[in-house]
């Protein structure tokens, strides 16, 4: 195991470093040995596969015959461009991303504000709100697939009490299914983001609030004019993380249908890009096509993150 051999290597290099007589300066070649495990593992299993995906995407590779790959140039990308299900998956990913992220982050901000009050049972509330985050995405999706069940699901039962007709969440219209899937994402991540906002709120200097109070602003005005501007970098951070997460959404659409297929609903109502990629590679055995999808997703993520950053910078300049 590399885990065992690395410290031994450290020992050797640090002795060499110790022989140098610069007693005051804590610097040595040993430092490279300390950081090398991270960069070695990251390079081998993180960066290299990501870059090599681009190379694979220019080949035709079959899952059943991995050692045989044929150079086909940009053909995989051309095929992607003409595939209606790719565009469908892109649309679904973007729309699910918006309806799962925007309400979630707004609610998280409000919750963080409430959690920041002086109160009894603060730890209880924080831990309770983090329970969905600790639940795996697989378990959460299976549970919500039951709750959203058409015939015996609790949510339809409850809506029926309110006079709403039974809804086919798992295989109904695009809109219904995507709302249900976004509910899973929102349930899992709202508490986590609330804690991140709470942490940032607690580092806002109290003088700002005192000054606002002297100026006669009420709680809501303080929230709007002090808290939210101070939280801007944190909000941007959570938006970027949520965007990256939403672009890779896989388990929810894969397991929500409960039919074991990779279609994302009978009419692909909620097939996301990640699910489409999985389908290309592991259902249709076209690994090259899947790699082309992955690189396209990477490109889209980079563009979206840049747009996020530019928007945030523009807004803070105006503000």
């Amino acid at each position: 195991m590399t885990a065992l051999s690395e410290p031994a290597h450290d020992l050797r290099t640090t002795r060499v470093g110790a022989r140098r007589k610069r007693a005051s300066a804590l610097g040595s070649r040993a430092a490279y040995a300390y950081v090398s495990p991270f960069f070695l593992v990251f390079g081998a299993f993180g960066l290299y596969p990501l870059i090599y995906t681009g190379w694979v995407s220019l080949h035709s590779v079959n899952l059943e015959n991995l050692h045989h790959s044929t150079w086909i140039g940009l053909h995989n990308y051309v095929a992607l461009w003409h595939n209606e299900f790719f565009w469908n998956a892109l649309r679904n990913t973007l729309s699910i991303g918006v309806i799962s992220t925007v309400p979630q982050l707004c609610m998280a901000l409000g919750l963080a504000h409430l959690l920041n009050y002086k109160m009894r049972g603060r730890t209880f509330f924080r831990v309770a709100m983090l329970m969905p985050y600790a639940t795996s995405v697989v378990a959460a999706t299976l549970i919500f697939a039951q709750l959203f069940g058409r015939d015996y699901g609790l949510i339809n039962w409850f809506l029926h009490l309110l006079g709403v007709h039974h809804t086919n969440w798992t295989n109904g219209t695009r809109w219904q299914s995507q709302v249900a899937i976004s509910a899973i994402v929102t349930w899992r991540w709202t508490g986590y983001n609330a804690l991140i906002y709470l942490a940032a709120m607690q580092s806002i200097p109290s003088e700002l609030y005192e000054a606002a109070a002297i100026d006669g602003s009420n709680r809501w005005q303080q929230f709007r004019n002090v808290t939210v501007p101070a939280l801007r970098p944190t909000i941007l951070f959570t938006i970027v993380l949520s965007t990256i997460g939403a672009m890779q959404m896989f388990a929810e659409p894969y397991l929500f249908a409960g039919d074991g297929t990779t279609n994302g609903g009978g009419e692909h109502q909620y097939q996301t890009l990640a699910l489409f990629m999985y389908q290309q590679g592991w259902t249709n055995f076209h690994l090259g096509q899947a790699a082309a999808t992955a690189w396209t997703m990477l490109l889209i993520i980079v563009v979206l993150v840049c747009i996020n950053a530019a928007l945030a910078r523009g807004r803070s300049r105006r503000g």
């Binding site: 995906t53 299976l142 940032a200």
Partner: protein, 301 residues
């Protein structure tokens, strides 16, 4: 990177409990006391957060027939062990739990070890290129590893590692978040004078690491270990590709249960209960520390 802008000018805040106490002290002056509506909204949120987990237990303890009643049952019943037995019959969930313990344990230990080493180097050692390397580390946090799975799959296929646990452990042995988390903690927690004293006494860097850094870093290592264990236990996409239902992790096993030919909700929920609740119970017990860790990592990372 966005993460760098996140440090809102309070880098002198001490890490750990003293720092939190200090913040709380200065904050007390302006902090509003929660009114009844605050408690009400938080109580409703708590119910929404916890109810689906409670209802998992309800479904898992009934037969399918009982669940079809109107109104649906809201209290547990007696069929839980029967349902769990059926789930075990369909998927090797006990093997999956053992596998997940191995994978998550190895990943947590490896991540804590490597991240503490790197975090210490970035926090306290001076070496050429350290700034650039740290920036590179932070930048890697934005890289979605899920998009590199195809070459990774080709790699483990070439090594004949498909369906072996090391294919799941090795790629996740390090975490950029962990390096950053440990660096932030150690920068503040270790007085440089202690290290210099050790250096003057002729201790090697590794000796200093073992006898000074590790004892001080222990609380942060524990939090990082817990967060890593949880993330690894809940990981799904890569294990689904690298393993099969003959040698699954918990999540792969549960997914197999959920996409069977005849979906039996009571059985699926029985398996979900078995594979999820042990972790949730541990999480609830250690909740205070985990919440503290996430909030610390948030302000600084």
């Amino acid at each position: 990177m966005a993460t760098q802008t996140l440090n809102p000018g309070n880098s002198n805040t001490e890490a750990g409990a003293p720092g939190r106490l200090r913040i709380r002290g200065t904050r007390a002056g302006r902090q509003f006391t929660a009114g009844p509506y605050t408690y009400l909204i938080l109580a409703i949120t708590t119910v929404v957060a916890v109810f689906p987990l409670y209802y998992t237990m309800i479904i898992a303890s009934h037969t399918n027939h009982e669940m079809a009643q109107v109104p649906p049952p809201f209290l547990p019943n007696s069929s839980m062990f029967h349902n769990i037995r059926l789930a075990l019959h369909e998927q090797p969930l006990l093997k999956a739990i053992v596998n997940s313990l191995i994978v998550s344990g190895c990943t947590a230990i490896g991540t804590v070890l490597f991240c503490t080493l790197s975090g210490f180097a970035f926090a306290k050692l001076r070496f050429r290129g350290s700034r650039a390397l740290l920036a590179l580390t932070i930048a890697t946090m934005a890289i979605p590893p899920q998009l590199g799975v195809i070459p990774l799959f080709l790699l483990i296929a070439k090594l004949h590692w498909v369906n072996h646990l090391q294919s799941v452990v090795l790629p996740t042995l390090v975490s950029a978040f962990g390096v950053f988390f440990m660096r932030q903690y150690l920068t503040n927690a270790i007085p440089t004078e202690i290290l210099e004293a050790g250096w003057v006494d002729g201790a090697s860097t590794f000796r200093i690491f073992r006898s000074i850094v590790v004892p001080i870093a222990r609380p942060a290592m524990a939090v990082l270990g817990m967060l890593t264990f949880l993330a690894s236990w809940n990981d799904f996409f890569w294990p689904l590709l690298a393993l099969t239902s003959r040698n699954p992790t918990v999540q792969v096993g549960l997914a197999g249960l959920g996409s069977g030919y005849i979906p039996q909700q009571a059985v699926i929920m029985g398996g979900t209960l078995l594979g999820t609740f042990p972790v949730l119970v541990v999480f609830a017990l250690l909740g205070r520390q985990i919440v503290g860790g996430i909030m610390q990592g948030a302000v600084k990372g």
